[in-house]
Symmetry: C2
Subunit: 521 residues, 2 copies
C-alpha cells in the first residue's frame, strides 16, 4: 500500500510504462481515422504553418504522438484511400492504370472500375470483433453499386462516392450524389450546396454532426466502433461554413482548415465527455500532399518539401500525422518512425486483436510498438505513379528511379505541380529514367530534395547497394493486381443511384460506349 502510493507520486506527470498499461488494457478500442483531403504537411501549426491557426490539432499533438515522416501510398485521392483500407499498395489492390506509363489514375464518375471484391477492407475484418463501422465523407473507391462502402464492410455511410470537384449542375453530367447508408439523399450543388463564388457550405458541419451522433450512439450501446472520417473541405473547390468564412489569415483555404481543426477538437472533446477517450485510438492524416497546382486560394502548404499532389516528391506524399490515445500513447512525443497510411490497416487490426490476412502481401506494418513505446521499425517507403515505382525511401535516404513533375504539354497550358520550384534534373517535365543510377537524396540534410548526392562519393555507393537490395526484394515479390482504372464510360456515371426514385432525381443514362481512360499525368 505504502509502496503503491510512492509509485503513484513518482509517476505523476510522467509516462508510467508497463504499470499504467496493465491497468488500462482495452481489448477492442474504438478506432477513429481522420483522413483529410489534399491537406499538406505544412498546413498544421505544429508542422510549421506560420499563422498557427490549428490550435486543436496542435493540442492533439501535445497530448499524443507526432509523425513527421508519415506517408501516403500514392499522391492522389483514390489509390491512397484504397491503400489505407486494404493495407496494400495500389499496384497490388488494383487502384492504378496501365493506360500510360507512370500515370495517376483515380475514380471520376466515368470510371468503370472500383475496389475489387477480392480485396478485404478494414471494416470487414473489424466486424469479426464486433465493431460497428461508419464512413463519413468521401469514399472514392468506385461509385457503381457493387463498389459502395456497405458492400465492403461498412455498416453506415454518410457522404459521397466521388469528389465534389464538378460537375456543377446535372445538365450534361449528373451531379455527385450524397448517400445516407445505401441510398442517395441528394446531390452536390443541389440539396448539398457549395457556393462556388463564396466557397460557403455547411458540409463540414454536417459531417461533424454525423460523427458526434455516431460516436454517441456507439458509446451508449457499449459497442466498439470504427469511424473513418473522410472529410473533403480542403479539396478544391475548397469550402467552409458561414461561421468560419473569413476567420483565417490564409483566406478560404485557411477557413476550411480552421473548420476541420475545430471539428477535430469537437470530436476529441466528445470522446472525453463520453468518458471513452482512454478506449479510443485516433489518428489524423491526409490522403496526399497539398494540391499546390491550384494556387493560394484553393490549396495548402507542403512546408519545406518539394512540389505537391500528383508527384512522388516529398511534397506529394509526406503527410501531416498525429496519433492520440490518452493514457496509452505517451503525450507530447515525436516519432521518427517512417509510417504509411497502409499501416493504419495493420495497426487497427492489431489494436483489435486481429492479424492481417495471410493469403496476400500486406504492405502496412503494425505500428503498435511505435505508438505505445516509441520504438522504431526499419521499413521502406515506396513512391508509385501507376504501376511504376518512381522512388523509394530507406532510412533517411530516398532514391528516385524515375522523375516527372508533369508533361511539357500540360506545363505549357499553365498546369504546374511545382509552382515557384525548379530543381535542375529533378523536377523534370519529361519522364526521366534513372533506373541504372538513381538520384539519391539525404532527407535529413536535404528535406527539400534539392541536392542529389554525387554518384562519385562513397556515400552514394554504400547507400545504393543497400537500397538496391530493398528494391530487388520488393520487385521480386510484386504481383500487380488487375488494374481497375483503365476503362471509362459515360453510361456508368451517377445517373440513377439507388434511392433516386424516391427523390425524383433519377437521370437517364446514355448508351454504354466505353473507352480507355486518358490519364494525362
Amino acid at each position: 500500500m505504502g509502496s503503491q502510493l510512492i509509485r503513484i507520486i513518482a509517476c505523476f506527470g510522467l509516462i508510467c510504462g508497463g504499470w499504467t498499461k496493465k491497468t488500462q488494457s482495452v481489448s477492442t478500442p474504438n478506432i477513429v481515422i481522420m483522413l483529410m483531403d489534399d491537406m499538406g504537411w505544412g498546413d498544421l501549426g505544429v508542422f510549421g504553418q506560420p499563422n498557427k491557426e490549428t490550435t486543436n490539432l496542435d493540442m492533439m499533438a501535445s497530448q499524443g504522438m507526432l509523425f513527421p515522416s508519415f506517408y501516403t501510398a500514392n499522391p492522389l485521392c483514390s489509390p491512397s484511400r484504397a491503400a489505407l483500407l486494404t493495407g496494400r499498395l495500389p499496384v497490388r489492390n488494383g487502384f492504378y492504370t496501365t493506360n500510360g506509363h507512370a500515370r495517376n489514375a483515380y475514380t471520376p464518375q466515368e470510371i468503370v472500375g472500383g475496389i475489387s471484391e477480392d480485396e478485404i477492407l478494414l471494416p470487414k475484418l473489424l466486424k469479426t470483433k464486433g465493431y460497428v463501422s461508419k464512413i463519413i465523407g468521401k469514399w472514392h473507391l468506385g461509385h457503381r453499386p457493387g463498389y459502395l462502402p456497405l458492400k465492403h464492410g461498412f455498416d453506415e455511410w454518410f457522404g459521397a462516392p466521388n469528389c465534389h470537384f464538378g460537375p456543377y449542375n446535372s445538365s450534361d453530367r449528373p451531379n455527385i450524389p450524397v448517400y445516407n447508408n445505401s441510398e442517395m439523399i441528394g446531390r452536390y450543388y443541389e440539396e448539398f450546396v457549395i457556393n462556388r463564388k463564396t466557397g460557403e457550405s455547411n458540409l463540414t458541419q454536417i459531417y461533424l454532426e454525423e460523427s458526434l451522433r455516431f460516436i454517441q450512439n456507439q458509446a451508449m450501446n457499449h459497442q466498439p466502433f470504427f469511424l473513418y472520417w473522410a472529410v473533403d473541405a480542403t479539396h478544391a473547390p475548397v469550402y467552409a461554413s458561414k461561421l468560419f468564412r473569413g476567420k483565417s489569415q490564409r483566406g478560404l483555404y485557411g477557413d476550411a482548415v480552421m473548420e476541420l481543426d475545430y471539428s477535430v477538437g469537437k470530436i476529441l472533446g466528445h470522446l472525453v465527455k463520453l468518458g471513452i477517450d482512454k478506449d479510443t485510438f485516433v489518428f489524423f492524416t491526409s490522403d496526399n500532399g497539398a494540391a499546390v497546382m491550384s494556387g493560394p486560394h484553393q490549396s495548402g502548404s507542403n512546408g519545406p518539401f518539394l512540389c505537391g499532389k500528383e508527384t512522388t516528391f516529398e511534397g506529394g506524399m509526406r503527410e501531416p500525422a498525429i496519433a492520440w490515445w490518452p493514457g496509452r500513447i505517451p503525450a507530447g512525443t515525436v516519432s521518427q518512425q517512417l509510417g504509411s497510411v497502409m499501416d493504419l490497416f495493420t495497426t487497427s487490426l492489431s489494436l483489435a486483436g486481429l492479424l492481417p490476412p495471410d493469403d496476400r502481401i500486406i504492405d502496412g506494418i503494425d505500428l503498435t510498438p511505435t505508438l505505445l513505446n516509441n520504438s522504431l521499425i526499419d521499413r521502406p517507403i515506396f513512391y508509385y505513379r501507376g504501376n511504376e515505382m518512381m522512388a523509394v525511401r530507406v532510412g533517411l535516404y530516398k532514391a528516385h528511379y524515375w522523375t516527372w513533375s508533369n508533361s511539357w504539354e500540360e506545363f505549357n497550358k499553365g498546369i504546374n505541380f511545382c509552382p515557384g520550384e525548379e530543381v535542375a534534373g529533378v523536377t523534370t517535365h519529361n519522364q526521366e529514367e534513372h533506373t541504372m543510377q538513381p538520384l539519391i537524396f539525404h532527407l535529413g540534410r536535404d528535406p527539400g530534395e534539392k541536392y542529389p548526392i554525387s554518384v562519385q562519393t562513397k556515400e552514394y555507393l554504400v547507400v545504393l547497394k543497400h537500397i538496391s537490395a530493398v528494391v530487388d526484394e520488393h520487385k521480386r515479390k510484386l504481383v500487380p493486381g488487375v488494374p481497375q482504372l483503365n476503362m471509362c464510360d459515360l453510361a456508368v456515371m451517377n445517373w440513377a443511384p439507388p434511392g433516386c426514385e424516391k427523390l425524383g432525381k433519377c437521370l437517364k443514362a446514355p448508351k454504354s460506349d466505353p473507352w480507355k481512360c486518358d490519364w494525362p499525368h
Copy 2:
C-alpha cells in the same frame, strides 16, 4: 484568507492575469538576448523542422511566447546586429554602403568603418539603471579599437570582432582574434581551433561556460545584467563539439543547431536553478535567414519562405523568435505581432524602466504590451539592401519596390541565393524596379511569395494606397546616417590587436592603401 485559497486553486495551471503580475513586479529584470548567426526560421522543431531536434527551444516556446512574424532589419550579419543594439535601421545608424545600388555590406576585417560614436547602444543606456552587460560571441560592429564593445557600453566581452569565415591561417592576412574583454587572448584556427575538415570545435561549449559563469556571478552580486549571447556555430564554416558531432539527422549543420539548443536549455535551466528565472527576460532569435547559398552541409532551412540570407524575400529576413519570462509572459502562446530585432532595443529599455533616446528616430517599438498581454501593435516592417528600401510589410501584405536575388554574373559562377526556387518576375537576377507598381503579396495566403496579386484587382488598389502612405511617411522622415561600410584598407586588419604583445602574436601591418570596397550583391 478563504477567498485567497480559492483564487490560488482557480489559478492553478492558468494564466492569472494582473494578480500574478502585481506580486512579481520586477523593476530591473535581467535581459538575455540570444542571437543566432544565419540560423533560419525553419531550423526549429516548433517552426516545422521535420527532424524535431530542438527539444530545448521547443520547450522554451511551450513555456513562453512564439513569434512567427519576427524580422531582422537587414539580411546579413553586421547591419542586423547594429540595428539590434541601436534600435535603428542600418540606413540610419550608418551600417550600409553607397558604393553600389542596393548592396549588402558588412564588416570583414579590411573594412575601415564601424559603429559610429554618435550611436547609443543598448548596454550604455542600461548602465544608467545599474545593469552589467556582457557580450559573448560575435561583435561585428567594427574591429578597430574605437569600435569595440567595451567602448560602446559593454562591461565584458568574450568573443571575436569578425566572422570566423576565414582567413584560415595568418600567412597572408591575420586570423581573427578572440578577445577577453579589451585584449585578445588568441586567434581562430590557432588557439581557438575549428577543424575545417571535421567541423569540430569547442567554441559553443566555451561560449556556454562563459555565459553560465557570468549569470552566476551577477546572480550572486544581486546586480541586474544584460547578456548578449551572440554565438556563431551556424555560420559557415559550421562547427560543433565532439559531443555533438554526428548527433543530428541533419548532418553537421544539425549538430551545430543541437549544440546551441542544448546550450539554450542549459542557460534557462541555470536561471531556474539560481532562482532568477522570474526576474529574467530571455529572447531567442537570429540575425538573418539561413544562408541557403552554402548548400545542405553548411546551412539551414527557411521553412516555407522564399530564398535566404542576402535577400529581402521572407527567407532572408524572417527569423525564428521566442520570448521567455516565466510568470510574466503567458506560457505556450503565439503572437501574431510583427516584430523586429530593433524592438529588442526599445523593449529592453522599457523593461528596465527607461525611455529610448528622444533626439533621433528609433525604429524599434516597445513590445511589452505584446509580451505581457498578447496585444497587437500596428507597425510596418522595412526590408533594406544598402540604402534602398526594397520592400515593406504592412499587416499581412508585403510590397516589393525592387527585386533582386543576385547578379547574373554571380549566379553564373554558381552562387545562388534561391537554390531550387524560381518565381518568374520575383527572384530576378537583374535589379528590377517596381517603384511605380510594386509587386504585392498576401503573406497569409502566400507566405512563399509566389503569387503577386494582380494589379487589376480592387484588393491591389486598396492595399497599394494604404502601403504607399506608410512608405511616404517613412521616406519623408528618413535622414540616412553617414555610411560606414564604404572604405576598405588592408592596413586596418587585425594585425596587432591590443594584448598581442603579451602573447607574442602581433603581426606587421602593411602600409595604408585604402580603396572603395566592392560589394557584389
